[in-house]
Assembly symmetry: C2
Amino acid sequence: VSDGRSTRVQGVTLHELTQARDDRGSLVAAEVGGQVPFEPKRVFLVFDVPGTEVRGEHAHRRCHQFLICLRGSVNLIADDGESREEFVLDSNRIGLHLPPMTWGIQHAYSADAVLMVLASDPYDPDDYIREYDEFLEALRG
Amino acid sequence: VSDGRSTRVQGVTLHELTQARDDRGSLVAAEVGGQVPFEPKRVFLVFDVPGTEVRGEHAHRRCHQFLICLRGSVNLIADDGESREEFVLDSNRIGLHLPPMTWGIQHAYSADAVLMVLASDPYDPDDYIREYDEFLEALRG
């Protein structure tokens, strides 16, 4: 696994994806054990998000996520309970690894933004922590 | 695993993805063991493909693929050595499972097309069969 570029937020890393561009078109790839440090069990796409909307605002107890902005741009705030950093995701050549127990907020979606998320676990509502205070408590616990 | 909708081509199936749309935006999701019948080890995106270009024209010996056209449209021809069918992929709500030993051709990419492919194996040039005659021989062998 490539370590990626570390950030101010514990465990959050940025990864350059594999690229190939020629006359026949462009290809961008990410491999498990390469850029992606877990086996995806779910993939989802978020799009048509109003620019005023704020999404996320939760942490996952166990689920890893790997985010790639396929088109347009979106701002992602990551927070480990002590440090917080904001990332502008505006390139499909960059993946961001958001490990479990990281508070995440997405905002400022451009009108054309398409965000792809690889997740290490199937959808499970019980895996979400939706209150920041509860997140801080869980970190201490 | 949902069986999906079978086609004229052996093992090729179409799968409706999970959708959620509200004022906050749209979400489309596919889960391993749900729509996706394998554990992805690689994800790649194909885009900026000239409309005149023909891509694919190969089979994989072992690798499964699951294709979703995220934007625009692309035509996919699948061929099991006996039957051939052409699919217009023009919705991010549909995934197509292309099992190993299926000849695949993509063409008529729209200018804005973005094709996402989940693959069951890391990239391996030895997994490709690039000649149709060799593909037919391998099927018989």
